[in-house]
């Protein structure tokens, strides 16, 4: 791996494990006679449906080497995890044993659906499963175009600028973006401590991010740029709200001079507030624009994207001509549906859940949050099935030096 390059990696719903060591569940299975197959499967689906194992094929088909005969094996039901006895077969299933001449045995199947072809191939060695390449309706999980990649890097640089330049100690920063037009919806930093600069939120008249021809992220340019943050990362990280959410009262700050401090005003929370203030400001008359039909569908950005990806030449003119017709009938968003958020640090569990509530589509962060992270480090909200909304999560890897500096800084933060 080239440690000098920027890189985007997807943070999946479940912790990654090597394909050959995937978690399994025990099940009862039995070889069946092909003539009974239909009847047995129909009955089993009724009495022992495999709700959490939809990716597992109920019937395994094997061609026997010697006579070329087909052998069918069916999963009867889940088996107890810590007990290898066959006596625990549920009564309903037990009733099928004699009529259909079953001979139950215990075997294993993979617990979770495969997320890659490699995983799937390993799974099928244990018991056949089905595999659907992750589409998820969210762009980027199966890779980004060069154009999108550059845009993501640019927004991440903006986040770094915010986090570093406006404050003495480094803080977390959050930039909410409408990716369909690459427009900044909100950009904020932590406001937990009084040193944070209060900003006027009601006039967040946003403009498309200034895309000039020469700010493509090259290794050389990013190195100069990153020197600033590397210096900060070597220092104290104790003001980063999401990293130290319980320590807000211990920081020595002068509170008298500023009335803005608030223990819960982490960058994501402030940015959400700012985006909703923008929504109320731009669309004061809610009834006219909120007919559900006007809710921005998540794939509304497709036409714009296609135009952009068709050209790798500088986008300046192109953007101007694209923006013009889109601006007047600007549609009112439903919360942050379809928007991306860029953060320097993985958000804490409070912020990660706030982003679920506000319907963010994709989250990009640069550094993990080992103390309170809600997107894989401590909890993993993108994998919590019960939530009513799910975003895709990506980590933007900065060049190697930044990470070495961070690790150094993190040691300070927890000591």
């Amino acid at each position: 791996m080239d440690s000098d390059a920027w890189k985007i990696i997807h943070i999946p719903d479940k912790p990654t494990c090597p394909p050959e060591h995937q978690p399994t569940w025990k099940v009862y299975a039995s070889v069946i006679k092909p003539k009974f197959a239909n009847t047995i499967v129909r009955q089993l689906c009724k009495i022992a449906p495999l709700e959490d194992l939809r990716h597992v094929k109920r019937v395994r088909k094997k061609i026997l080497q010697d006579h070329g005969e087909t052998q069918l094996t069916v999963i009867l039901c889940l088996a107890p995890e810590h007990n290898d006895h066959l006596n625990d077969l549920p009564l309903d299933v037990q009733k099928l044993v004699d009529p259909y001449e079953l001979s139950p045995f215990i075997t294993e199947v993979c617990k979770y659906a495969a997320v890659s072809k490699e995983e799937w191939e390993e799974q099928c060695k244990i018991w056949p499963t089905s595999f659907h390449p992750p589409t998820y309706n969210i762009d980027g999980i199966s890779g980004f175009s060069e154009d999108d990649t550059q845009s993501i890097f640019k927004f991440m640089r903006l986040v770094i600028d915010l986090a570093v330049s406006e404050h003495k100690p480094i803080v977390n920063a959050a930039v909410i973006v409408d990716p369909s037009v690459r427009r900044i919806i909100a950009s904020e930093t932590d406001q937990v401590y009084p040193s944070s600069t209060p900003r006027d939120m009601t006039t967040t008249e946003t403009s498309p991010f200034n895309e000039t021809g020469d700010d493509r992220v090259t290794n050389a340019s990013s190195q100069i740029f990153l020197n600033g943050i590397i210096e900060k990362l070597n220092g104290s990280l104790s003001d980063v709200a999401c990293l130290n959410p319980w320590q807000w009262c211990l920081q020595p700050h002068e509170t008298e001079k500023c009335s803005q401090w608030h223990p819960l005003r982490h960058a994501s929370i402030v940015a959400i507030e700012s985006s909703s203030a923008r929504d109320r400001y731009l669309f004061p008359n809610s009834a006219e624009s909120v007919s559900p039909d006007h809710v921005l569908p998540s794939d509304a950005d497709i036409p714009a994207k296609k135009q952009k990806t068709s050209s790798h030449s500088p986008n300046v003119q192109k953007n101007c001509s694209e923006e013009a017709p889109r601006d007047p009938p600007m549609e009112r968003p439903y919360l942050c549906t379809g928007y991306d958020i860029f953060l320097l640090w993985e958000p804490c569990t409070m912020c990660a859940m706030a982003l679920v509530h506000q319907r963010i589509k994709r989250i990009f962060y640069a550094f993990p949050n080992p103390t309170a992270g809600g997107l894989g480090s401590v909890h993993r909200l993108q994998g919590e099935k019960s939530l009513n909304h799910h975003y895709a999560v990506f980590r933007v890897l900065l060049p190697g030096d930044a990470h070495n500096a961070l690790n150094h800084g993190l040691k300070h933060a927890v000591s």
Partner: protein
Amino acid sequence: MEPVKEDHLEESHSYMGLALHQANTIIGFTILQKFVAFRVTVVDFPRLQAKLALEALEVPVGCVILEDGKVIASGRNRTNETRNATRHAEMEALDELVGQWRKDTLTPLQVAERFSKCVLYVTCEPCIMCASALSFLGIKEVYYGCANDKFGGCGSILSLHLRGGSSQPEEAQRGKGYKCRGGIMAEEAVSLFKCFYEQGNPNAPKPHRPVVQREKT
């Protein structure tokens, strides 16, 4: 969790009654709005009615915060009104307190001391966001009505009221956790929800589709 003593239970009920009242102001407001909507119906019915309904409806959740047995703050859900889905009842009440204490020029350390004496009564189990916030602030105790089996952060989905999982020394940094007890006047809280959802939530995107299931094509 330990059984609540009889006298304490009674006390819980009276505070939960207050929290329910907070939640109820939402419903009450809606009924008033509906009445107004009904009167203008004759003139310009479909649009105005939709407008009034949209502006007023909120998922009915309310809460109160007590310090030394006195109610010092209250809040109700204002997510639709603010178009900010994080404006839950708990956040409203907590902000009220922080704002007040900041005005009184309390230092962060003094604010933390005050929170450590506070008890929250809320009609529905705090969500993952609010449960985290309550942990960060170091609240003393939380009493809630019905469980929140989709978003609950006090036992239903995550257990953020408990102290950090492992016993490593740096876990001391992860807050001390708070006492939490649910099921207080849960039926009343649920019936408020029913009342709301029977009217439907017009601010939710339509059609409301279930989460995309990766297993299916």
